[in-house]
Symmetry: D4
């Protein structure tokens, strides 16, 4: 196996190593480490983000609660944020890649927007642009068809939908770009926390769709960025 | 409770009563008894169908295997049949109702046709007309849009789809008639024998859809006929 | 595809389009847009409802929490409400359709009443009348049989039940009208949030039943109204 | 723990002990060992049954295939059989208990009869009488109500039903005896091999129902016999 | 169907009938109505209990929260209570049946005791005695074997267990009485809210077990009382 | 919506339109129609393939059984085949795209090879090259690390794995290209027909993975080709 | 990473590498490669086994069908076999380890014996002895208690059980050795192909149990051998 | 069955026996009783722990909430604690076993550390040493390979991982010691509360892995200690 830079160990108050920041990931995978705030205290989130921003120049924070978002605002005033998604991009983000490629991030309903915003902010952390096209669910088909030319112009489409998750099926049958489908946990009744949309997207009869985990706007953006880097 | 006609008991070779034909159902529910052939021998299927046809003038047989279909052909030559569905309508079917109402039976893919045919034959047994519109799945949206005026003209739509089951969502957003959705067990991978399509149809974001069991063309027709009788 | 009226875009504070009110839906599908309050702030709920009521003359609001209901009361004093269901009908609702048709909304137990009320209010928003017949679950069969003549007189039956969900099976075997079954998330133990009732309704041995999603009184009413419009 | 009689070891051709017949069970639990033929060759089934009949005077055999049933007929001509259930009672069955108690074994549909027959034959092996009341499913409620007095006269009711499994709910609300519910794997679509009926029976809103495993007529009879022995 | 006494309608503040107390149930099923407090306000719980106690002489209340239990204490000081289960028996309970029969209520672990207590209080409301035998789970088998003679003396056994739910299997193989198994939602990891114990009890290799719903001490007692009334 | 070429209707013997070949798909989506042979008779498979090959110049056939493969061999001798996958590419396939891009198709175990072969043949039908790297499952990690440089050189990686499906996680952490993960139904015990691998791939802690349906080598190739066309 | 011996590539008829025998596994993991015959033709099974036996001196074959077992018998007459399990150990197996350690392989019922035999044969391939103790399921507890001293003497216990899977719970509470639990797919009704036993074993209230996959006697033996090598 | 010491009964305020401390377990199973604090009040937790510590010299407490941990700190100042896991070891723990054996407790991510800490503290209560190796998940493979020699030196490995749970698969293919896998409920989307990791670990293609319940660090340590005692 090839040589590698050492990881950055993180210790807790008792000196036990609790994390090793994988700062080599950017070189190896083309993607930086991020801070997944869920399950961390707001203070931990800020401290780890500071450490990471120092190493990488910037840090992407996802799944932060309201209190953590307040701390982040205080620490990095004016940073780029996706407040409904609990996400922020602090420090000096990477230069945008100038190759004309961009991702259309289409969302079926208003409730799917936080996931779409997480995707767009993650794309920014990867030097890529994402443009949200909101409220184009298939129950009002004309809204989607009206935006079709715009969607066709994108290099890759991230399609975010809850409920029955039919949006990727319909759009993938109309365009030629890869479609990264993101099921969301939006719905009621037998939506099973997003499993219904997930199964529907996997079972789609349209070609060219691949799927990431429920509500995983971050992962969809990671995939879309790798695609744009091909 | 109101008075009622006696049932017709059916005995096996040892004289045990194994069934009671509910011949009062037509008066009570507006729908005749049918013969569900699955789990019966071909000979039993024919014998029970004969008994029912004698009482009702006709008999609808569903889920018959190839051997039973051969016996049915021999016993009732030229009877109306839905061979892929293993269904037949023998004897003298009821007069068609002349009120201008009919059901559009739309099917997403070729593999959904047997279920659609079962629905059409069941409608015939109820004096109702069903017209199949085949292969209008959402992955090739134009095929559906081309037939939209025809679909809008129907009194009720039976929408048959497997895989992700998105067809009812799309069509219910485009028309004003009730949509009876039938998930089918068609698909591969995580289609879960039709559960994926079932969940998707239940979770639809479009209004006016109700759902019957997987592959249940018979039940969809029963519901559609009741709707047309309103 | 046919021409269509433009949607009404809704922007958030930053000017991003987060929703497009599908005001053409009434013409296309015979049903107006509604405001699904879950996941919205009380203030957003009121603001969107105002915008919709301005366009349509009225607005149906569903799944509103207690605080949103208080704001609605303050904004539209005396509006028609289904308080247990968190639903309200504000503005000037459409004229009732005068064709003698109405829906019986039967509920198995007291806990199923909020869902039944949501259905009745939704019917009102569609110009249709729904009459609740409460507490007719099958464990005390006589209570159902006592009301049978009344139920038979309805054009369509909405049957709401949790637990094992047997009510639609029993009633559909006794009448000739279409039965729209609504499973509820009422129960304990292995009721699985309503999945048990949902599966039971789908698997019913009685003809003429179709099913909507768990707790979906709104969807049942949408279906019932389309049926009454046939 | 109390002393006990030795078990009867059974060896295969290589002398390895593969089974230990628990002939003490009759004394300890009031129920004899039985031969569960599924997964055994027809010859093994006959040989083990012979060994057991020699020890106990008789042997109950369940879940035997057609070939095993033929061998059993040849070995014990005229033995009591439940052919659809693949069950037989060979040798000299125990004397019937003369205390006036008996079990009503009610079956929702024709397809549920094999499970009902397995229950009746098992009851016979326990010295108890079971009487089948067939085809009283809730979709044709009158058929059940017609037999209600007879059902009320039984000491215990075994209620066998597939599909949505609503029969025990309805009957338990009408009588005072214990109801042992047996879900069957009969149905189509989302019946899930009987899970739908099982969940429905567990979730029943009627009191006095307990449930055994899917298709387990044997277990229901075991429970019913213990109840009659109280 | 036989004649019957009228139900007692209960109205809400707007005069809508929201419940019909099935006071005929005692005559028909041998069991009184009970008040299931879950989903009701504490005040509603007390008011309905008063109405029921007036009709029946007493009322059993189950699944009451702490506040409702306080109101109950204030309204009926000194009433019999199962505080961990949120259950109470108010008014003048029925005379105990004097036939020497009683139920052993065995519980695998300390956490299963609330369910056992609910069963015992329900038995009291039915005029039956239940005796708890606590902490006899199979991981310390000797604790169970020490109590075996006592358990054998009972007319019926209610076996309450969470986790893997093995207690009924072991005990049913050692005694001759019917065993009513109650899975509980006690456990961690893949206990699935009690589904693991439920499946284990249904799949037991021991004869004479039937199963009620998860945590359903009430239902187990209802079944056990019917058994003791045989 | 834009104009479009008419579809090619396919009729059965009775003249009913059972399919509409979507020959416009190539222009619209960059991917041709394919023949999914499962559920078709061998003769139907050949006939439809002939029709498609006539229109498109070639036809990709997937999921054909042994008999259909024999007919295909007889009709198109020497055609390119993936025999373990039941797939064939008949007629004159499209010219390979000459842009230096190719897909690495890595397979965890020998049993995953049919799915990998289906992917490679589908890529060929799209003018793209796929190279199989076999038997690099993570239980013998060195086999994967030995091939890492080769895998890194690919434009996109299709990772095929059954059982726990860990291969995409490990490989995505080591490279920068997009990884399209294909769970397979290979395994025993609780592999749940591939659901275990599917869930594992969706839940991966490594970035840049998206997932297609179980055993869906065809869909993975469709996605990979769209990616290479970016 | 440490250096390693090259793998042994296996090619199919067209020269494609379809497998790489991981012959280094013995040195690295203390366990040899085995031949999993399921999904291979009988001829492939024999050929791969020959190749492996040549490298390792012997080969363990598991999950072979009847035809493969016949070929194995013909090729290696008198080899050690577990015929019910479809397993064989051919060539010259390794020398037994002489450290006094052995594994008790206890099986709840007769139907669990094939899995137990697979475990014993796998242990032999690892130089370890396993002794089967059959038919000690918990429904006849005395049979287990009678063998307790023998079980206590083992270094490790492999406990094989289907249905509710309670055997490991009971035995782990009585002994101090590690218990490797193997759920089997034996049962009827809601055993879910072994999932019920699997969940029960995972949820056990007894300490010292760990679990392998359903029917995985091979994996249990692998684990037990590693334990005995500690 | 062998003789045994009497259990220590614990009574509640009303004198009912609610628990029987199984103080014989240490002799019988080599493991002491522990206090599972979940579902107990903080005061109960302390009182039971005092009773147990008096009998055994020490007590292990698991799954204690913050308030219980504060009481424990106040009652036993300076006791050994695993605060993130809510676990403590109070009193005089047993002497460490001096045989050179120890367990490596490897954790995939930072979020898995509480489970790892519970395992280490449980090992201490059993006189065994566990050493945590943190943040060695497979998405950054080098972090694991760097620690491989250290892991190989352990007698047994406890591998803790959430999400897709691939860590045990990879590590078991690289070492010869037994691997006890612990799935955790860490993840998002379709991780299903740890079921995804659980299934992945059970389905692993690597030999020598056995699995305990989700988040069950306690159980993993119990198993590891039994293994080290072989």
């Amino acid at each position: 196996m090839d040589s590698h830079k050492p990881e950055v160990p993180v210790q807790d108050g008792d000196g036990m190593v609790v994390a090793r920041l994988d700062v080599d990931r950017l070189r190896r995978c083309g993607a930086p480490e991020a801070v997944f705030a869920q399950g961390k205290t707001p203070e931990e989130t800020v401290r780890i983000s500071e450490a990471l921003a120092e190493k990488q120049g910037f840090a992407l924070i996802t799944r932060a609660g309201p209190e953590a978002m307040r701390l982040i605002d205080a620490r990095w005033p004016g940073c780029r944020r996706a407040p409904h998604a609990g996400a922020a991009l602090v420090g000096m983000p990477p230069e945008p890649v100038r190759d004309g490629r961009w991702a259309a991030v289409i969302a079926a309903g208003t409730s799917d927007l936080p996931v779409a915003e997480e995707a767009v902010l993650t794309l920014a952390a990867l030097g890529r642009e994402g443009r949200i096209i909101a409220d184009v669910g298939v129950a009002g088909l004309q809204r989607l068809l009206d935006r079709l030319e715009e969607i066709r112009a994108a290099s890759v489409v991230i399609a975010v939908a809850g409920m029955e998750g039919a949006l990727p099926s319909v759009v993938a049958g109309l365009i030629a770009s890869p479609v990264v489908a993101v099921p969301t946990s939006v719905g009621y009744g037998a939506h099973l926390g997003g499993i219904t949309a997930l199964l529907g997207m996997l079972g789609s009869c349209a070609p060219g769709i691949s799927v990431v985990n429920i509500d995983n706007g971050f992962g969809a953006a990671m995939t879309a960025a790798r695609i744009m880097n091909v």
